[in-house]
Symmetry: C2
Subunit: 158 residues, 2 copies
């Protein structure tokens, strides 16, 4: 068994355990650096009352805490299921080196975890057609924060 399979099996084990314990959805993830698991994550949406607590987001948060950084340089993420749009976004902000996944989003949709509608919403250029309406107001006032950011001496860019 190669290392990729070893680490994916660890993620899969977490996904199965999460169902057996009743702690959340059937999803697990591990983050690996230098051949070692630095953090794990399981879906905890319902038990932690946190809709963002998907396995990948939880693993990313835990890994960043463990490594004392907000960027997962040279890390690999192994997730038992293809990431949803939220987790994909989180992955791009965290910037691991590679992502391995096992179940597909189609597999997830078949057990009623359907994120396809989010992808479709993201593609809608006309925001009034979204199922959650998005409306823009007060841009002229909000720009002040952006202007202050540009000249701030305290800022840490990322």
């Amino acid at each position: 068994m190669n290392n990729h399979e070893k680490f994916m099996r660890a993620a899969i084990k977490l996904s199965i355990e999460n169902v057996e314990s009743g702690n959340g959805g059937p999803f697990g993830a591990v983050i690996v650096k230098d051949g070692k698991i630095v953090a794990t994550g399981q879906n905890q949406v319902t038990t932690s009352n946190d809709p963002t607590a998907h396995a990948e987001v939880t693993a990313i948060r835990n890994a960043c805490k463990e490594l004392g950084t907000f960027q997962l340089d040279d890390c690999d993420l192994y997730t038992s299921c293809e990431p949803c749009p939220m987790c994909l976004g989180a992955i791009y902000w965290a910037r691991p080196k590679r992502v391995f996944y096992a179940n597909t989003k189609k597999d997830a949709a078949e057990i009623n975890f359907d994120d396809d509608f989010i992808y479709k919403e993201l593609e809608l250029e006309d925001y009034t057609k979204r199922s959650i309406p998005f409306e823009q107001i007060l841009r002229d006032e909000a720009l002040e924060a952006f202007q202050k950011w540009q000249t701030s001496e305290l800022k840490e860019e990322y």
Copy 2:
């Protein structure tokens, strides 16, 4: 001044204060239910070492904690800037009623917060062309968690 403007100004104030304090990027958000702010969020990526700690995600987490739920029924989200793909995904999972935003993603790109590349990555059907490579392995083993989920008596669907 109507209520929408009042709540957006609260989000904008948080975004400006976040720059002035040096706590993070120029982004703030508030979540409102029954005419009252139930939670707020500021970008805390660099100070909390959490790449997912955008203003919207932070506000969503705080609101769910405050309300003791993982769904933001009948809540409105006011964010000082148009949400990135991660936050958009989080919004769709949290399901507030409406979203109001002020600065646009184009405004954000102009001060080097460019999430446009994430939208482009999401659209790539060929995962090998992504800047972070995604590879599928061990699907047959991972399906076990999904099968267990379907028959689990402990599960809480969401």
